[in-house]
Symmetry: C2
Subunit: 470 residues, 2 copies
């Protein structure tokens, strides 16, 4: 079966820009675009990259077939001519470099660098940002919950609180961020994420008594499964579950009420009944802050099921990444050096030039700074480069991301942060500063494309992209 | 081409519940489930229904083929036997009643009522909630922006700030809530929503000068298109756009800065240059509150492009709907009346019994109350029933929703609200009260399934579902 095209998961203006660029002759100019977030959400010390594999998949499936082009002509989006020829011939032939899934990012980290002709790159903007803004938001929220949970089992259970397709992506991103399992079966099938779950309140209510419901679960799922005990009363429910299942009962789940006091009373009761190995799992409007409070209070909780907050980025459902042109050739001569470009729009200034990154380490092995430079930097023993090649000449060169490996990468990277940056409590600054080398900082001065522009009045710093890779 | 199954867009526990219900013999008991939100987000006066068509589509595609069942067995989710037979035979054979798209909802409004066997209904929970929680959140945020915008053109442009697939659903839901157009091309193809867009900052930056960029757009898209003027300086950009395009220029867009003062200055400039019909469209972190402020200040703005806030529900990315068992047959006798059930979990109590709804009107034609009753109510001249049949005996009986019709319905329904409930400013209560008839209010008392349960201590009010339709 042909895989469906991703090409219409795109803003209308991407196509009108291409049509205009074909008209003005700049469509084929060599260009560099970067994806980055200007800032982290308030109080956050770091972000986590996820979704790179989905981006590569979307780029590969970004094709306009006859039916799609005919639809666009019918709707008046494009006109028959050079534009429709261009669409039908489209496949991405350029290069992509980026941060691996599970890698950390900070303000202005170039999470993705896309190089190719202006037109072939600009048209990918919407779908690239859609994936990264969603997946990075969820992975970042997940890692903060891991920071809070002190190694307890973390279960993603938010599928019902987000769109069905994004639920699958959210489950994967949560796993990359450090969650152990998900409730989402499609995430299990598509991405191999471990899934889990037992019963809901409806199951208890459907039986004449809670006793009957627990007996049915025991017979079908076994004593080692987790029993939902709060449909009527947590303590009666816990007592009844042990009575029905026996002291070998695997776990109980509490989904309402005062989780701290209820988990303590339930633990006491379980221990008195001999169910000393019975796990207590809790759920109900949890987020990283509530988990941290419960851990700080020493709640006898073995696992947390987190739903709504996690899949909606815990208050920040988008990573606020943008896709910006940073360099373009001034003409069609393949020998011409690229020109660095940036915009001056208030609050939205950008820094021109393709950025190379070295993340420096201090003598204790902690991350010290994220250094961005328009010049390639030699790696050294006290730094690492988070940028890896993903696509060359239109072909994917990166291996398919194993979500488990990405999860391990995230854990390893977080170990290089200071402990105070691995809590959910509000950070006043990012964990490490973004340091600009060879370019001025974006809020004080900007490299702009005033070359040859007689009437803008914007200054040209003369800075040029010397990367030479695009 | 076969349409892909929706059956794994589901929580693991839906299947383990079915396996347990088959074990205990309750799988085939006639049941009623309801979808409702216990509350509206703080400050909201009403919610807007969207996503019903997507729910019906997901129910129709909810099938387990051999490969899917084999996968579930391999992964240990289910065991070969009665459960795998049940999965392979699954198709929904029951009935669904619900609110049409564009209809308003209030706390406890039964937006969807699903009737059938316990097992065939319970297994739909996750995918039904995923769709409705997402689409209702976006449609509700959209309608509030319409409330704020005083009839100006509203453009949805948030695709890049949400998952690619949910972006298409968000564009559709925003249109149902009242937005005029979307940037999302797939929403245009799949749902017929009008799309629009011209160029981005990258397009301006890619040219040697802003002048060249505007000329290229003029030649490709025409003078009537909208020109982005804030890449360097709004006033220079506006002046230059009129110089290049002429006073017949269709529109300018400002995407940064002080939108109130900038739109005023741009309007003055445009008028002085003779471009009196040139529209001013603004964007940049808009939400319903910012739009209302600009309108209250009399900003000379003709259109608003809203992105992030809209597609993420303006602070409430989920409508917080739940899917709850409210009635079930006590045995397999088809003549037995259904038993109303509800749970007592603190803060999450539910009211048993299938609810019928009449929305009453006051003498001025304004909505007065949302009356919920376990007894069918006769419609009268001063009330309307928002519930419509959607599925009967497993077959969809509702016509496919035309998003334009749903949008008109939403507009008509909102006209029955008081003006003070059609503003974005915080409401202290829902626009109309939810009135319970024949059942007690959910937070003061609850109908519970204590029948035959000797040891819960929960009281049985003796209330029974007399609806007789399930």
């Amino acid at each position: 079966m042909d895989r469906p095209t991703s090409a219409l998961l795109t803003d209308h203006y991407e196509l009108t820009m291409v049509a205009s660029a074909l008209q003005s002759g700049i469509a084929d100019r060599r260009s560099v675009f970067e994806v980055f977030a200007r800032r982290l959400p308030e109080g956050r010390a770091y972000g986590v990259v996820a979704g790179i594999d989905r981006v590569l998949d979307a780029v590969e499936r970004f094709r306009f077939d006859d039916a799609t082009v005919a639809h666009l002509v019918d709707r008046g989006v494009v006109e028959v001519g050079p534009m429709t020829d261009w669409l039908l011939a489209y496949r991405f032939t350029g290069g992509i470099t980026g941060y691996a899934e599970g890698e950390l990012f900070f303000p202005y980290s170039p999470v993705l660098t896309v190089e190719g002709s202006f037109a072939e790159c600009v048209v990918l903007e919407t779908v690239v940002l859609s994936v990264l803004n969603h997946d990075c938001a969820v992975a970042s929220a997940a890692a903060r919950t891991v920071d809070a949970a002190g190694g307890r089992l973390l279960i993603e259970g938010g599928s019902r609180r987000t769109d069905p397709d994004s639920a699958v992506a959210a489950a994967r991103a949560a796993h990359v961020g450090g969650f152990d399992t998900t409730s989402n079966l499609e995430a299990g099938r598509r991405h191999g994420i471990p899934t889990g779950g037992t019963t809901a309140h409806a199951f208890v209510l459907a039986h004449a008594t809670e006793h009957e419901a627990f007996a049915a679960q025991r017979d079908a799922l076994g004593v080692a499964s987790t029993y939902l005990v709060d449909t009527f009363d947590v303590f009666e429910g816990t007592r009844r579950a042990v009575a029905v299942v026996g002291p070998e009962i695997g776990g109980i789940r509490i989904d309402s009420g005062e989780l701290l006091s209820d988990s303590r009373t339930a633990r006491d009761l379980l221990d008195r009944l001999g169910a000393t190995d019975c796990r207590i799992v809790v759920s109900s409007d949890l987020d990283e802050f509530r988990v941290a409070e419960l851990e700080a209070a020493g709640a006898p909780i073995d696992g947390y099921l987190v739903g709504t907050s996690l899949v909606t980025g815990s208050g920040h459902p988008t990573a606020e990444m943008v896709y910006k042109l940073v360099s373009i050739a001034p003409d069609d001569d393949p020998g011409s050096p690229l020109r660095a470009v940036g915009k001056l729009s208030p609050g939205k200034r950008t820094v021109g030039g393709r950025k190379h990154v070295q993340r420096t380490l201090d003598p204790d092995g902690r991350y010290a700074s994220e250094v961005l430079s328009v010049l390639p930097m030699a790696p050294s023993g006290d730094s690492m480069s988070p940028q890896v090649p993903l696509v060359q000449d239109g072909e994917i060169v990166a291996a398919v991301t194993d979500p488990g490996e990405a999860r391990a990468r995230c854990s390893e990277r977080r170990s290089h942060l200071r402990p105070e940056d691995r809590t959910p409590w509000p950070a006043t600054t990012p964990a490490i500063p973004t340091v600009w080398q060879g370019v001025e900082e974006p809020l004080s001065a900007v490299v702009v494309n005033t070359a040859g522009n007689p009437d803008t009045g914007n200054r040209d710093t003369g800075d040029r992209d010397r990367g030479g890779t695009a």
